[in-house]
């Protein structure tokens, strides 16, 4: 089954995965502490541009990946707008009560959710599991035991996906009605899990049979170091945050500078 989407490798793929992880985690917390909606809108826009042009995926793939995050944006923003508290009433209709404060707070929270989602997307779209775990072992001293276990699990996913498809066929063939919440979950989960657990156990034994000890010295097939793109990465995100802040404060779209 085709499940992997081919993409063009961009400079973001070339950066050190551990560094990228740290930078994006720092940004993650930074976004949580931005209270000026103007700044946050700028950050989100900048991340969106990076998501569109920096990840190397075709537009249709990006669209489908972005869609759920956009829905999260709409739902968080709208619920905050309609049910939040505030004093300057714009609309009141039954339970729905939109005020100026709740409106802007809703916009703000929506953009925050969007920015966090985009950070996650940018990271996962430009990081392959193998370099990530090699880098985590080399730069952040993650124990090989955990790194290789994760990699083995990643390998199981496409196999599980294929099995899921086959089980669906098999149940159709037996005439199993395609309904019934819990029993349906059980029908899929039991064969899938029983296969996966057995396979995971066998892989673990096979790994130990190849003299994998989980600790102690080892060499690495991939040496993950740092390069010029890592400087770009740090510089770009620093510039991006600064620009977003500067533009947001000096050329605001709206007159509110703190939604709290």
């Amino acid at each position: 089954m085709k499940w992997e989407v081919r993409c063009r490798e961009t400079w973001l793929h070339e950066t050190n995965p551990s560094l990228k992880l740290i930078v994006l985690v720092v940004l993650f917390f930074a976004v949580l502490f931005i209270h000026n909606p103007n700044v946050l809108i700028n950050v989100s826009l900048a991340l969106f541009v990076l998501f569109c042009f920096g990840t190397g995926y075709p537009a249709n793939v990006l669209f489908w990946l972005f869609l759920p995050f956009f829905l999260v944006f709409v739902s968080t923003a709208s619920s905050m707008m309609m049910f939040g508290e505030g004093t300057t009433t714009w609309v009141r209709w039954g339970l729905i009560h939109i005020t100026a404060e709740s409106f802007w707070r809703g916009v703000h929270i929506g953009f925050r959710a969007l920015a966090l989602g985009l950070l996650g997307l940018i990271f996962s779209l430009t990081t392959r599991p193998v370099p990530l775990f090699y880098s985590l072992m080399q730069q952040l001293k993650l124990k090989p035991k955990y790194a290789y276990s994760f990699l083995a699990a990643v390998r199981l996913l496409p196999i599980m996906l294929e099995e899921f498809q086959t089980i669906r066929y098999a149940l159709t063939v037996r005439g199993v009605p395609n309904k019934g919440g819990l029993s349906k979950v059980k029908r899929y989960a039991i064969p899938l899990l029983s296969q996966s657990i057995r396979r995971a156990q066998r892989i673990a034994v096979a790994m130990e049979a190849k003299q994998f000890s989980g600790s102690g010295g080892r060499t690495f097939y991939y040496e993950i170091g740092f390069g010029k793109y890592d400087i770009w990465l740090v510089a770009l995100f620093a510039a991006l945050m600064f620009a977003a802040y500067y533009v947001g404060v000096h050329y605001p779209y709206i007159s509110i500078s703190d939604v709290r």
Binding site: A152, Y169, V173, R174, G175, P191, K210, T219, Y221
Partner: protein, 484 residues
Amino acid sequence: MKQAIAIDRLRLKFPGSDGLLFRDLSLSIAEGEKVLLLGPSGCGKSTLLQVMAGIIPHSIDVPMKAERLERPKRWGYVFQDPDAQFCMPYADEEIAFALENRSVPRHEMPVRIRALLDQVGLEIAPHTDIHTLSGGMKQRLALASVLALEPDILFLDEPTALLDEEGTKAVWQTVKQVGRGKTVVIVEHKIDHVLDFVDRIVLFGRDGRIVADGEAKAVFSDYKDVIAAEGIWYPGVWDDYDRTARRRKHHKGEKLLRLARFRGFRGREAKIYVPEATVHAGEWIAVTGKNGAGKSTLLHALMQLIRTDGEYMLLGADIKRQHPLYRHIAFVFQNPEWQFVTHSVREELAYSLRLEGRPEAEIEETITRLLREFDLVEQQDQHPYQLSVGQKRRLSVAASIVAGQRLFLLDEPTFGQDAKNTFALLEMLEAHREQGAAIMMVTHDEQIVRRFATRRWVIEDGALVRDEQLDIREPVLAEGGAGR
């Protein structure tokens, strides 16, 4: 001669089982020896192999003790399941994993990886996705990554049990080359390709005791009856089968299925094309072709699991009007476990009948008949997952055909089965064919095609390219001296 492995008075017991698996078992293997461990399934051959390697108790904790246990320091172990021995996504990374474990310097790795791939005859780019390899190639990759450990001794635990004929041949050819000068201990059920390679056979009985131990050819000829009774695939097994097989009846019945310009789609792409074909009752069609040619896709298309277009008539009516299809067509998948939907063998057989709302008395009667026909009477209250490999397969076929369908679609049903189970299954299918069912079966096994099929469809690059009637080969009687 120096000993590679020495075991003295080994006792071992699996938690939860009643008796000891091994009671005072002693066995030693000399350096450079090629040994085959044979015996019925469940006799503990694989367990013994794991004890010899130290996987038990190092990785799998099983209570055991032995008076003396000498094990090799450098060993390699190839397992049965090609999908359950790799932890990395790409071939080069998988071999590198073994090299890393031994702290081989990084700059030496690419050269060694290439050399190891060449050694096992894998002509692939090192950075190839393991998921795209065939079973036989995966097993040779497993061998390559094991050779990266530079072992003195190789343990092979039914490495070809889940492979087709072509893969099996390639794996054994490779083992013969790389095994030169090494000690090799093999557990295997399909011994056609192994027999001329090993110089010693250790034959186990059902109770885990050693029945025979000696020079390969001698053990094989002296204990052939025991070996045959255990369902082991040995050279000439089909000839022996022919001597016992009964004469087959052939008659072509009414038209069951008609296809014209028939296509099956995966996504937007047409993956299988049948220009024109008609299938009659009483036919046994072997669907053959290379891996990935589209054989399974053809069956999926016929079962309407994927989107199709063109003409498809079943029992004289358009396929769209034959809903639900499972009343007319029985489908059997490669892995029986996927098809089980209930918690006992009995329920499993009753499932389709209940779905159709047949009277309880009739259901009871059908189940009792099928339990007997498929030799599952003793297991009727067990959970399907607790059955043996052969029993699972029989149950999945029995449960699929219970509703009296006229057309059977089977995707390599004899895959991974021992000789005894294969013969039993083929004969059950044959009985149904004689009663007027049509069988369409994907298979790689020429022996089956030659003996059972009345017709062969060859699939190439997603199309039916050849449709030939086969001469019906009557079983050769004892004096006939059947050749292979």
